[in-house]
Symmetry: C2
Subunit: 141 residues, 2 copies
């Protein structure tokens, strides 16, 4: 009964917003999953695989800026989490390809919404940053 989650009886006195609760607790499985998914490269790897299986170096190329070490490490974590599957084709040299599991596929839907939002609003955020920086320079402190 990890951190009270498994049979959480939904206490009626709390949570006007039912949805976004679990991951706020530091000792919950949900927090661990959130940490893995939103790790430095987790979102990119998961979303990178959303359109189909990719080999190690294909992923590395697609995700600009990731190092082999971090790609390897992130993939290992996600494989362990059951979100990504690692398949070794017994050729020579053996080709390793990664794909989403059915579980992982469910996750990429919210992640793609996030991606789309970010793509569509990134420039608004940049503009806000510039406004903020301009204001801050004017106000010495």
């Amino acid at each position: 009964m990890l951190c009270g989650v498994p049979v959480r009886p939904q206490p009626p006195e709390s949570l006007p917003d039912d949805a976004a609760d679990d991951a706020f607790r530091s000792d919950c499985p949900a927090r661990v999953v959130l940490d893995h998914v939103t790790s430095r490269w987790g979102v990119l790897v998961l979303t990178g695989l959303a359109t189909g299986p990719l080999r190690f170096h294909e992923l590395r190329t697609k995700i600009e800026g990731i190092s082999e070490k971090m790609l390897s490490q992130t993939l290992r974590t996600l494989v362990r989490d059951g979100l990504v599957e690692r398949a070794v084709e017994p050729s020579s040299p053996p080709r390793v390809s990664y794909s989403l599991t059915p579980l992982g596929e469910g996750l990429t839907q919210p992640l793609q919404h996030l991606f789309i939002w970010i793509r569509d609003h990134a420039r608004l955020v940049s503009a806000a940053q510039e406004r903020h920086d301009a204001r801050s320079e004017g106000q010495p402190g």
Copy 2:
């Protein structure tokens, strides 16, 4: 014309999936936004504010495990990004409360979907981890 995005001509030979592209490039504004949003505490802060404004220590209490330093730092980043607003009530002592801007509110919708998915599937992930660890122990090397 930052990193070719503004008037990206959509080369037809790539991207069968139009949507999830931008943040894959390391020099794009979208990548910066993704980094801020999915920073260690970004998702939790943003989602924590989704149900309404909160004061500094209220947020700190809601988000188990965050330190004051990281809360302060994360909030500063998100305020600069125009996703969160910082309001100082001129009382004595002054109360500082944080809330989502309209821009930030748009972002919390995808994030809440992510939260819900994680809450609903965290145990499946934990189970996958246990299976994986059991298998790995059996296979030395």
